[in-house]
Amino acid sequence: MPSPYYVSPEQIMQDKSEFVHKGIDQAKEVIVLEYKNGIVLVAENPLSTVFKISEIYDRIGFAATGLYREYESLRFVGIRDAEIKGLTYTRQDVTAKWLTNVYSQYIGSIFWQMDAKPLEVELLVCEVSEDATQPNNIYHISFDGTFWEEQSSAVIGGRSDEIAQILEETFQTGLALPEAINLAAETFATIENSVDEVDRYNISPETLEVAVLDRHQNRRKFRRLTTEEVAEISF
């Protein structure tokens, strides 16, 4: 029996990374910003019932980009495991840090499996602190399972580096909600303007998906804004 060709682990990982990049470099972006009352999540998404942003648990929200089928199942796992943890212990014990570890292990284990297709996703897990003097938590999870903490703002998607660069100059702490949503919408518009007119994506209230994690709400901090609400705020 002929022995299989030897391929070095480095080569395999590089191939997988290249494969994933080909996919997620095309993915539309999601911007997450801190504002006065919590965290606002804004995505480029023309669909009105298929979401990139979701509620996970009381203080925790989720934003994803990449292949819908794959991040949808991650969203499901997050909601399911959060509810189970909340029933086992208390609701307070369900944290973004814990959920990020769950996702990191899950995504990482698939990435390192030799015969499996890596997940083509990038995630942000956000937790608003109930106490305004305490920091919020934003975790950025990459397609290979590595993750890091973000401060004040975060971007996922193909052109996230360019967007982060713009935000570095324009973002300020303590924004009111309309200001934060407008900043995100303007940033998306700036990026789209740098694209050829044929491929340009029109930014309007209908093509934005917006949700907040508002610390002043009761138990469930997550709230999705309607197109009408977004239209009143921006443009």
Partner: protein
């Protein structure tokens, strides 16, 4: 693997618990059916819960006392739980399984909303609760009874609706008002006299507090307002704009006035 593809997409949280964490739920199978029926007075029981429909929605309320035989088991028990922004559940029966069922029901409704990205219809929720009671039947036969009232604002009907249940999971809709528990009959008599179709929220609240007082006055298992310890019935008001809990100061002043009228004659 964290996710079995066959599991994805289920919006039934109890099914997930049964498969993944059966230790978190009471399993009817674990109770031996031939075992002698558990005597009710070993458990916390005795209650008045009620709901009444008014012009813009529905009010659902309950007293706060749990009884163990001839003893007061607990003075501050919560018998009314918010399920989501448009519905609430009130429970009568044995405290442990009752509170557990209310909690799991609330979790299920919220789980569905998050997974599907849309809310379950009011009837959908009422029907799910019916299924939970059906599963509970073997436990009910052992004396671990749970009898809920489910009430909410139905956006499709644009009105408040009340569902009552029996231990087998039978579900019946009430058009006007209903009361359950050991003081239920007394509360129903009071509501019968005070109910008017299309009554205002204030009148409905008045009727609810009167009915709870009548129940407490006649039934040992139901507590009246406790002015000494500042414990008052739980009252939730549900209309199109959502659910809110009635202010305890309002309830307190209602009862202070009522007692004054009763003393002066």
């Amino acid at each position: 693997m964290f996710l079995d593809p066959s599991e994805y997409g289920t919006n039934d949280f109890l099914q997930i618990l049964k498969q993944r964490r059966p230790d978190l739920i009471h399993s009817p199978a674990s109770i031996v059916v031939s075992a002698p029926r558990l005597e009710a007075d070993h458990y916390l029981e005795g209650t008045t819960i009620l709901a009444i429909i008014y012009a813009d929605g529905v009010i659902i309320a309950g007293d706060r006392q749990a009884t163990a035989g001839f003893q007061v088991g607990e003075r501050r028990v919560q018998k009314v739980y918010e399920v989501d922004i448009h519905s609430a559940i009130a429970i009568a029966g044995v405290a442990g399984p009752c509170i557990e069922m209310a909690k799991l029901f609330q979790t299920q409704v919220e789980f569905y909303e998050k997974i599907e990205g849309t809310r379950l219809s009011l009837e959908g929720k009422a029907s799910y609760l019916s299924n939970m009671l059906k599963t509970n039947l073997p436990m009910a036969m052992q004396g671990l009874i749970v009898i809920p009232i489910f009430a909410g604002y139905d956006s499709k009907h644009q009105s408040g609706r009340i569902f009552k249940y029996d231990i087998t999971g039978g579900r019946y809709e009430e058009e006007d008002y209903y009361a359950e528990g050991s003081g239920g009959k007394d509360a129903r008599s009071a509501l019968k006299k005070l109910y008017r179709p299309g009554m205002s929220q204030g009148d409905a609240l008045n009727a609810v507090l009167h009915a709870l007082w009548d129940a407490a006055d006649e039934d040992l298992g139901t507590a009246g307002p406790d002015l000494l310890r500042n414990i008052y019935p739980t009252v939730h008001i549900i209309d199109q704009s959502g659910i809110s809990e009635a202010n305890s100061e309002t309830i307190k002043s209602f009862y202070t006035d009522l007692f004054q009228t009763l003393v002066q004659g």
